[in-house]
Symmetry: none
Subunit: 183 residues, 4 copies
DNA sequence: CATGAATGAGTGTTCATTCAT
DNA sequence: TATGAATGAACACTCATTCAT
């Protein structure tokens, strides 16, 4: 994965991948028929672990919905946006997604759709408790995540041009979202 | 550009680029020394036209700041997020930015930093008129744009997995942002 | 010619040749059908002027045959071995002769065979006058020139490795040849 | 080597070299990084074996110095001038020496300088025994070799125009040199 | 006559993939 | 099961040659 992240799919050489895995070029082909399949398998493996944490934490929360949403978002920043490896997977999906549609579908199903559901539930919980107003965001929870996703991309792409302070960004994001949803 | 967008930098063949331009391989090398330079030149050219429109429209606006921000955002969706070519440039920068750092710097300077300034000014205008509250978003205007950027990426990456309705998304975005900033 | 000498036939670019001639690439093709023909013509032109001087001087000499041979050889060193351009033509013939057999034939006919005849005549003159002994060199006059030709090649090839002092070399050569032929 | 000799450095195609070696294009690049390096390695390999024979024979000679010089020169004709491969290496060095200066230096050090030393020693031996006179050739032994080198070049370059009889040439050469050095 | 933009055949080099060991 | 030498398709880039201006 490290090699794919650094070099992209086309730029990654099978020999280098093999070396990084402390084995020989030929050995790779015992386990994967082509570089494409290797890529798919490797990326898939790195996608799986992601969602589990986020889901677990969504249960059994007893505070207000604002607190819950705030917490979820901060967690997302800490574990996803702030994690270079996970950001990199996103970049790889953006870059190579065209060639590997099943991969993006998988990522959507395993990660994004679950995050969407979670946000949706929290918003619903907030509306039910009178804490949040009715808003189009209920149906399109992705808007709520938007700035975080943008931050992840920013870190990988424009950070050289203009450093993004993740802590302050997260605070501004949460501030805006909570005020935006508040009843 | 079309070829680079479809195939990425590594995947794009110089012959194909030449054919698309209705000329021969060798002709490309009359104008660009290497594929890298061709790429830079082509991408740079596609970046330039973008910002002008957005900036012009920021002047001479007489309505409320909410209306102004709403309009700006909707414009952004119409002209940027909804425009496949411009989205594609973003994807290319995300994918190949590593290799071409001057390109992302250029993009930041020409496009993003200007958008940031514009948003900042509108928020300030709103605060000055008592329409918007003081909020961390003043200093980090990018959060305001976040969902739109995410939508652009979504369109290129996850639209197959789950179609994003740009109109409704934009509405949800504007709704949340305006409520989030309101005094 | 300069370009062919510096770069060899394959390495010489037609554009560069044209530039050196202060004209444009296309112009070359008004006068020569191919690079090969250009090469032949150019080399041929540089061959012609050479022999005339040497021949003229062979006539009307009134000294001893030793003096005459000595003079001829020193002339050869001065005008041929010591002249970078003429040396270079030799190198080019050695390098590219395979490809251009008519060229080497021409060179042989115009330059070498005449030099051979001249040497032969001097040796005969010396034998007739009792100055030189009968020797196989009469029939193979080229042995007499040998060291000079070698010096020419040395200058172009091994001079970096070990500088050859042309004056002393010529003296040693003449000394050996005159003693070798003396009756 | 065969391909380089036939086509020169620029004209030799890596594919052809590979084919001649009964392997595939790519295989060449397992052992040599570039065509240049391949060339250097190949030529170097062909240079090495040469000098050993000549040197060995220089020891333990009991005849006169004339006989010794005669023998050495005839050997040189038999093993060097008469050997197409060794001649070819010389031609290649003359042709491509410019590009590969280390190669000509190597050739000088391994072959020529050793031949020079040998000739010098024989001349000294002859002078010491009163067989040879003092002459500038002592300091510039290369003049003694000159005709042989010329013959080698002739064979490769002008033999089509005028066949050179190596046996007679060698005899004329030895005859002239021995008489030229004799006391 | 002169030009130089356009062409595309040709070549060095890379790298995914195979396979004998 | 693991290796890495061998392969050759593929591609960036060059340059002799053409031809419209």
């Amino acid at each position: 994965m490290a090699v794919f992240i650094e070099q992209g799919f086309a730029g990654a050489k099978v020999v280098d991948i093999a070396k990084r895995a402390k084995s020989a070029k030929g050995t790779v082909y015992l386990y994967f028929e082509t570089k494409e399949q290797l890529f798919e398998a490797v990326v898939r493996q790195y996608i799986q672990p992601t969602h589990v944490d986020m889901r677990a934490m969504a249960k059994n929360f007893s505070g207000s919905s604002s607190e819950m949403l705030s917490m979820i978002l901060h967690r997302f920043y800490a574990e996803f946006v702030g994690n270079e490896q996970r950001r990199s997977i996103m970049r790889i999906l953006i870059s190579e997604g065209h060639r590997f549609p099943e991969l993006t579908e998988y990522y959507y199903k395993e990660i994004i759709s679950k995050a969407e559901k979670m946000i949706k539930q929290i918003i619903k919980r907030g509306i039910d408790s009178g804490e949040f107003r009715e808003s189009p965001a209920q149906k399109i929870p992705t808007v709520v995540m938007g700035p975080a996703v943008m931050a992840a991309i920013w870190k990988m792409t424009f950070d050289n041009a203009s450093k993004l302070n993740l802590k302050k960004f997260a605070e501004a994001h949460v501030d805006m979202v909570l005020n935006g949803l508040r009843a």
